[in-house]
Structures are given as C-alpha cells and as structure tokens.
Amino acid sequence: MPEAPAIDPANTVWLLVSTALVLLMTPGLALFYGGLNRSKGVLNMMMMSFSAIGLISILWLFYGFSMAFGADQGGIVGNIGDYLGTKTFLAEGDLWGATAENPSGIGVPIYVFMAFQMVFAVITVALISGAISDRTKFAGWLLFAGLWATIVYFPVAHWVWGGGWIGAKLHALDFAGGTAVHINAGAAALGLVLALGKRVGWPREAFKPHNVPFVALGAGLLWFGWFGFNAGSELTVDSIAGLAFINTQVATAAAVLGWIVVEWIRDGKPTLVGASSGAIAGLVAITPACGFIAPWASVLLGLVAGAVCALAISLKYKLGYDDSLDVVGVHFIGGWIGSLWLGFFASTELNAAIGDVVGASDGLFYGGGVTQLGRQALAGLAVTIFSGAVAFLLGKAIDKTIGFRATEEAEIDGIDVAEHAESAYDYSPSTGSSGGAFAMAGINPSSKSTAATAPEASSEKVAG
C-alpha cells in the first residue's frame, strides 16, 4: 500500500469509460421509450429523459452527491456540506475512499466517482417517465423530477451504497442498483401513475409502438451502456469486474430467450418488442446480482426474469393502472427478482466482499439459510413503500398546484404539439418547398423572438 496518495490509472480509466457508457444509457432509454410510444407523444417522452440529464446532473453536483455519499448521518442521509458543488476537489489526496490507513482509497479521483454516480441518479429519474407517457405537463415533470430525486433517490442511494442503514446495518446486497435504482424507480412509477390516472381511451384502445427499430436500437444502446453500469460498479479492475461483465451478458441473453419463449407459447409469435423488452428485463434483474453470483446462476436468473416480466406486464390490465411502457412490469418486478435471487444464489466463495465488506450472508443454496433472503426483502419493501408513497404524494401535490395532468384535448391532439409545439416527423415530399408548414408566399418570416425578422407564418392572413 502506497504511503502517498496515488491515482490508480487503470481503475480511473475504467470508471471514466463506465461513466460515459452509463451516460449513453439515458439517450438510449429515450429512444427505447420513444419508439414504444405513439408517434404524437415521442418527443415529450424523449424530452423527459433529456431534461432529467440536464436537471439531475446539476442537483447532483451541488448537493445530491453529498446527500448520498457524504459522511453518514444516522443511517439516513449523507452530510450535505461534505461535497457541495461550490467546492473543488483537485488536491492530490482527493481520491475516493481515501482514509488515513489507505490514503489512495480506490485510486480514483473524487470527481470521477462523483460523475459515475451522477449518471446513475440521472437514469433512475428518467426511468420513471415511461410510466406516464402522453398525459403530463412538462413543467410538472421537471418539478417532480427535482423533488423526487432530492427526497427519494439521494437518500436511498445513501441507504444502499453511501453508508446508510440498508447497506451498513441491514447488510442487504445490491451490486449495481436493483434496490436503489430499479425497485426504487419502479415503485415511483407505480405511485405516480396512481396519482395521475389513465390516458384517455386506455385500455380500450391500442397504444402500440410507433417505431420498433427505435425500440430495438434503444435496447441495444442500453445493453452496451449497462456494462458500465454493472461491471463499472465494482469500481476497480479485478476479476469481479469480469464476473459482473460476463454475468450481465449471459443473464441478458437468457432473458431475451425467456421473454420470447413466453410470447411464443402464449401468443403464437415471438416479437422484436419482446426480445428488446426481455433484454431490459434481464439487465434489470442481473443488476443487483452481477458481482455476487455464478454465471450459470445468472443464466437461470435471466430466463426467469425474462419469462416472469413477460407475464407481469399484463398485470396492469388486471389491476387497472395505466403504466404506459411497463416500468412496473419490467423494472419493479425485474428489480425484485434480481434482488431476491441474491437470497438464494449469493456466495462469499465467489466474492469475498459479500461478507467482508457488506457483512451479508451466503444465499439459501449456498448454505446461508434464509437470513439474506429476508434482508433483501426488507430492503426492497422499505424502498418500495417510501418511494411509491412519496411519488404518489408528489404527483397529487404538483397536480393540485402548478398542474401535472394534461388536458384531454392535448392527449387527443398529441402531447408533443401541446407541450412542446413540435411534431416528430415530416416525411412530406413538399416540405420546405411550399407545403409542410405551408408558410405563405411573399411574407418574410419573423418570430416572436427579439430577432424581429425570424420566420412567422401569416396565420392571420389565411386562417380567418
């Protein structure tokens, strides 16, 4: 162990790359969600993701990281003064995990670790948006995103990874975010949907994907980025990072098969939406488990998660909540499956950190009894209730105040035009040569902007 603090270049490179990979997941998610949505709401869908990147990154820098990873305050939250965004951390010893005995920590600059965790916060918030497509005001979403991140995500990240009660006292396992990210976002999605209600026409009408290749490409980008999410969460370059990586791959592959097999049996045909959804279900389920179980157990987990989530997405029709793009069916259920899986298949033989670092036990099938299973369930339950309840209350409160639910008219005409004055596509051959926006001849366009001569249509001349 070095006396002077020293950067570990390989760990640092790995985290830099992983951070970039996780950042890419949110545009990937935007595409996945956008493609699943109707064409008249695709932009609003994507905008919820893009705005989450914008807003949550800033909150994280200024106080979120402190709340999650500052010195523990009674197991509940980190000390908000520790890493305030107004400070800078560029001294030689500003390495993550540095202590007196281990002045280099994991050898990664604080800013790199902060950026890595930042993109986790971003995508967790973005995940929620898939449940409420086609029916919300954008201002309401922004407010919700900021508040939910502050009240729920930042503390929960502390509970699970920052020295809070779930990790440090309950000793529940969560390698890369089954509880902190997927159960958390899934429960929030459910709470928010219950607060905001169904879309006009649901479930009578068909709300089918408008662009399935986007769905598949989005799933592909998510898969790619998820390697950073999962294998990056080991934070160091070692054999467990390799284990997390290969487990992510094989569980996801198995979940693709699990989902399409269910479709084949139930519906007679396997679909590409199913294969893509299966991939996400597998990625979700392996997330908490990827560094703690064996590859063969990951394959099994993937098969189960793919198959169960393929069935779970029908729950909404039974129970009557309009979770548009199945955030509950995939992330909530998938997160639970992966988290409980650890109660059966986690093994200190595979990863000594299970016992040494987290203080957790072997799973049931490795002779650890049901202890760990109980811990996993308790952790999941606590986050489910807390996140779901806060999301529900925030949803109601925002709707009562600044307004959250869009009008029925906006839903019918399309939320993109209503909230963003944009439409996604224009394939018309006449566009820009007279048609499309059908701006009138002879009139110099101008906008309401300060630039007095920008385009403006001559609505008053012709629409009368």
Binding site: E205, I412, D413, V417, A421, E422, S423, A437, F438, A439, P445, S447, K448, S449, A451, A454, P455, E456, A457, S458, S459, V462, A463
Partner: protein, 112 residues
C-alpha cells in the same frame, strides 16, 4: 349507386366505422388527408422561429352504397363523426355510374 365521401377528425374514425357497421355497410376505404378550413391549425416552434401549421390531419372515408341507403349512410356518418367543435368536417355524395368487384367481375349492387 352513390359514393359517400367524408372528411372527419381522426379520433372519430372508430365511431364512424362502428356506426357504418351497425348499418350493415360491408366495406369502406379510408385514407389520410390534411384539411384546411375554419378550424385553426397549431403553432410549432423550431429554434426560435414560429410556424403556423395550418393543415390539420383528417381522415377521408369513402363508402360506395346503394342509392336507397345513401341517406342512412350520410346520417350515420354525420352523427358518428360529430363532436360539435369546429373542424368536424364534411360529408358529400356523388353519383357512381358503375361498380365492379375485382375478384368476381360482379357489377352494380352485387359488387358492394
């Protein structure tokens, strides 16, 4: 025989189809069109420039029908398509001299 053409709001297609089906209309042909009329279009913004999109998406429904049923078809169409708000569209009737079913070569009423 007559051809009844209707230009309606997209959201009403469902109701129209059901109403026609209830009448026993066996077939129809629909297409996507853009309408311009009293109903105002919406405004779109692109990089600070505002554009009024004056054409609104509409659905055109075409139904070939028996002379005797025309009134029923028109009424059913109009009732089902009505929301009472501006832009509900038009229905019009034109004369058709002959109809052929491609599959069988049947002509006239048998072709419907």
């Amino acid at each position: 025989m007559k051809l009844v053409t209707a230009v309606i709001k997209p959201y009403q297609l469902d109701a129209v189809k059901e109403a026609l089906h209830a009448l026993g209309v066996a077939g129809l042909t629909v297409s996507e069109v853009q309408g311009y009329g009293r109903q105002k279009g919406h405004t779109e913004v692109y990089r600070g420039a505002e554009y009024t999109v004056e054409f609104l998406p509409k659905i055109k429904v075409e139904v070939l029908t028996d002379e005797i049923d025309v009134e029923k078809v028109v009424d059913a169409l109009v009732t089902a398509a009505r929301t009472g708000k501006i832009g509900d569209g038009k229905v019009w009737v034109t004369g058709v001299e002959d109809v052929v079913r491609v599959r069988t070569g049947e002509r006239g009423l048998d072709a419907l």
